[in-house]
Symmetry: C2
């Protein structure tokens, strides 16, 4: 449906805790709240496309947003996956340029949008916003570097193991947890075909990992850490 609206109490709350706004002073928060527009997106809705002039900055309030690039013959490569509280780094274009990737709601999602020209005006007056953007982007650059090196250095089961270890409170004990999104999304995030993820999970069974649906049980985290 994608209706547009001013942020209500619930959305303001989520935004305040988001990576971007959490570190801002009250006045900058107010300025950003002023220009925020909330959008309710159905699954598969496109937020912006690679090559379009960039006009809006986006933050995720709920759901997951997939960012990908296309090749000439239409194949897609996921480059980042954003969840609740995340600033969509690919939408930070303050210099009047274009989006360099496409963003799509991977499931029904709530997002906040900010007019980029106005964001730039605020950033030019209020350094705390510009610094917050810098910090968010430098963290995302680090994540992108980690993905790149992960792809190049590790096999599919190793990448899956690392993902599982990173997404459960790293204790020495056995633990269960729930995947936050469907496996095909996870596969894309890890740079794998869904089949490869499936095979990685079944290979990890012999290392104490059991999966049923989105539920994952890790019998021996240490075993995973050793590969």
């Amino acid at each position: 449906m994608n209706r547009l609206m001013k942020p209500g109490a619930r959305e303001r709350e989520t935004l305040l805790n988001s990576g971007l706004l959490a570190a801002l002073g009250v006045e900058s928060v107010a300025a950003m709240m002023e220009i925020a527009v909330i959008g309710n997106l159905p699954a598969r809705q496109i937020l912006f496309r690679e090559g379009e002039p960039a006009d809006l900055l986006h933050c995720v309030l709920s759901g997951y947003i997939r960012v990908y690039k296309l090749d000439p013959d239409g194949r897609e490569a996921d480059v980042e996956l954003y969840g609740p509280g995340d600033l969509i780094g690919a939408s930070v274009v303050l210099d009047g340029g274009r989006y360099t990737a496409t963003a799509q709601a991977a499931e029904p999602a709530l997002i906040a949008r900010f007019d980029l020209k106005r964001v730039r005006d605020i950033a030019n007056r209020r350094p705390d916003l510009a610094v917050a953007l810098t910090n968010a982007l430098s963290a995302q650059l680090a994540k992108a570097f980690a993905s790149l090196s992960n792809d190049r250095l590790h096999t599919a089961p190793q990448r899956v193991a690392r993902y599982l270890l990173a997404h459960c409170t790293a204790e020495g004990k056995a633990i269960s947890f729930r995947l936050p999104y469907q496996k095909s999304l996870l596969a894309g995030k890890l740079g794998l075909a869904p089949e490869a993820l499936s095979r990685a999970f079944s290979m990890l069974r012999s290392h104490g990992v059991n999966v049923r649906g989105r539920l994952v049980h890790i019998g021996d985290p240490e075993a995973l850490r050793r590969l």
Copy 2:
């Protein structure tokens, strides 16, 4: 030898044209020049290591700096390669955290270093610096996304072809140009083993590409564009 010094006339000139300082107002430029320290690095010198507390921001004045990540058993994966005028995005850590990758001079290089705490202080007072950092990082994030999708969607010869096309003024005519660094570096940048790069070049011979040393001749750019 790595001697430290204040920037002289030549270094100031290069810095002024660098991506980071070019867009700043005169006062911010002055503030940054004030804290700049020039370093002359021999090949293979490490600028900073993954995991160390981040204390300095780096810009390249001449030469190339390779940024990579290590895996447990010491294998390296290049995640970015910076040349003259580039801000080393991996060194932008304003929040007091640690470096997330290692930077090494790929050849003798001249760099400018800036104390990160002071950079943060300046950025907190002068929005133009913070915005310039944001712009630099968002461009680098776009590059990282491009590398990721390139790795995932294209074969070695395709990646090499795209590199060649991007690094020569995209005309329809035949053209010659010189690789800016050695092939093993290019291989790393493209996520390839040196052998794979070599094989890609010899495969591209049948598509009008001739290589001798660092000299590359492209007979038919259109043929490359078609894969």
